[in-house]
Point group: C2
Chain length 417, copies 2
Amino acid sequence: MGKAGLPVSPLAPAAFPDLPVIEGVEFASAAAGVKYQGRTDVTLIRICEGASIAGAFTKSSTRAACVLDNQAKLAAGEGRDKGAAIIVNSGNANAFTGARGQESVDAVTGAVAQALGVPRGRVFSSSTGVIGEPLPHERIVAVIADLAAGLDAGGAADAARAIMTTDTFPKGSGALVEAEGGQIRIAGIAKGSGMIAPDMATMLVYIFTDAKIAPELLQQALDDGLGGSFNAITVDSDTSTSDALILAATGRAAAAEITSLDSDAGRAFTQALHGLMRDLAQQVVRDGEGATKFVEVRVTGAASDADAHRVAMAIANSPLVKTAIAGEDANWGRIVMAVGKSGAEADRDRLTIRFGDLVLAEKGWRSDSYDEDKASAYMKKQELLIAVDLGLGQGARTVWTCDLTHGYIDINADYRS
Amino acid sequence: MGKAGLPVSPLAPAAFPDLPVIEGVEFASAAAGVKYQGRTDVTLIRICEGASIAGAFTKSSTRAACVLDNQAKLAAGEGRDKGAAIIVNSGNANAFTGARGQESVDAVTGAVAQALGVPRGRVFSSSTGVIGEPLPHERIVAVIADLAAGLDAGGAADAARAIMTTDTFPKGSGALVEAEGGQIRIAGIAKGSGMIAPDMATMLVYIFTDAKIAPELLQQALDDGLGGSFNAITVDSDTSTSDALILAATGRAAAAEITSLDSDAGRAFTQALHGLMRDLAQQVVRDGEGATKFVEVRVTGAASDADAHRVAMAIANSPLVKTAIAGEDANWGRIVMAVGKSGAEADRDRLTIRFGDLVLAEKGWRSDSYDEDKASAYMKKQELLIAVDLGLGQGARTVWTCDLTHGYIDINADYRS
């Protein structure tokens, strides 16, 4: 969609899921022609009065104007009892666009505030696409009246399509939680395919729930889930200027208010939210630019969780590991290399390396049970598990990545054209 | 050579240089069939009695047996008045080969010690190639007598060929220093093409000089040069288990002994040595797997030299920057992204980005003088300069890298086969 003619990733789910409708949230999408032609590229989301809103954003020091604006508005916390909105465009990131970047944000969010009758401080925005090009924000402003007129509680799937760039499939995930007094529903959409090595939040992700929960608790539930979802994926080790995750809770569910994350309801909600976040994060990896393999890298036995993360990311980001996977070569020596370069504490003679159930290396040496034919056969699978046990302690971390293929280079060698 | 049928890098020098002959150093190369067929794959180097020897090695925590052995021998400093030797094989890295790795090192270095009549503690070794396969060291031992009989002061060029793996051209560099009492000569050879992101030393590099200089001073001169040479290059962000640099000074020059690096002779020698190290390091980048562009990344105005290094390496290692260069796309927005993800202090509104003499971005915004046609024309050059000024302080660092192309993936998707 973003890149004309890109085939859908072979790792894509069979279909976009049936997302639960979240009472108090409506979507509308339109074709504003920001950059792409012949497709939708702007999405407006209206959120009802009194919703709690949380967010997580890239730590990049060159983050985009809209990211800075969202962070300022969330910190100020103005108008929490009023309605809110999110406006998203694809095709242009409005990043490194100087003072004009903020002018564009003000123009777009101001027009939304006026059209929907919500405070400007409650209108959040995201832009994704080329960095450094001025955003033709007047094209977005021009479609806002139409968007406002077309808002629809069932519009999430169309929204997931409108926010795509080099994505080859729209990403959505839903969850239902049984709680005291009734059900809680959660629905999320995401985009992301390249420039994926989130540092805090990632990419563009919008998650909605009808749970009754205060903003501070909602933010805590979100923060707790990042390490096992968006901060545990990488496509190419490159961190975007535009990563943003916004989570809104409308409070319209029949279920009782969640007043503690340690309550039964709090735990059930958090578990469902985190599972949904992991699902969306994994969908981003499944749509990694040029990806043909989905890879789970599971590190255990590290001296600390931080060490486990360093090792897992060193493996998941290694171009040599990723090209070997693309070539279906069981080159476990490159796993040894990545462990060695990670900077984490490691001892050659305690290291165990498994591909799926196959033990390739242990005790500083190729395993006695090593079988090249079996290892090669395993590499032909589309979903792979690389497991490394460092044999040192209790530190553990799992991350997800994809292979590095000719497709990645085709997509990125002339992205701007 | 390493990978059958790989064309010579378009960035290769026109020819292997005429290296100065270093009195007291002899080379011999042979075809032992460690892995490759139809080419030389083992090199023996004999160094005269009384030479000073210095070294620098990878910091990888999974470094190869020969690296550990070299480090132990240099630290022990036994037999400094005796002769010395270096034995190198390509095709197998003898890394992650457990206790058998050290047995192989002992077998090979022991055989060399016996053949040349030098102490075992003065026989250094390197192995480069596949990680995790047992080294068939008996094949190397079998050719040592022939190697010892064929030692030749003019054999450096053949040695540079014998140590190649995926390299497409042999790498050598020479220098002459005019000093009190006569000339000092320096000659070095190197191999390296992929798994290049040195952390301390890198790859395999052997440098020889006839300078008279104590081991401690020689080591200091070497250490001082790493930051501007081997630690300032990257092909793919992957750090080898086998990186090793050995520098030997035979003391056979007519020039007076260098007793301080701060003397005229010390400065002249150090300058020449560092220039030669930089030349060899840049040749490794010029032979980066699949490389079609040689890129200098020059960062100035950083809050510290360490910050400048982080920014330069974030740019030089970014798959998105490197694929844009391969595609001749002046995608300077990805430079902004890389600055942002580096973790270094940065201020959007003080950042200046230049490609060659073209100012693309300044003051947080696309430059007024930006011209897409000129930028695109510049990207067609084979040698590129990416200059980033952070506008914050005096920190500066320059690193060298190459582009990321389909060739890299072709070479690495089935390296072991």
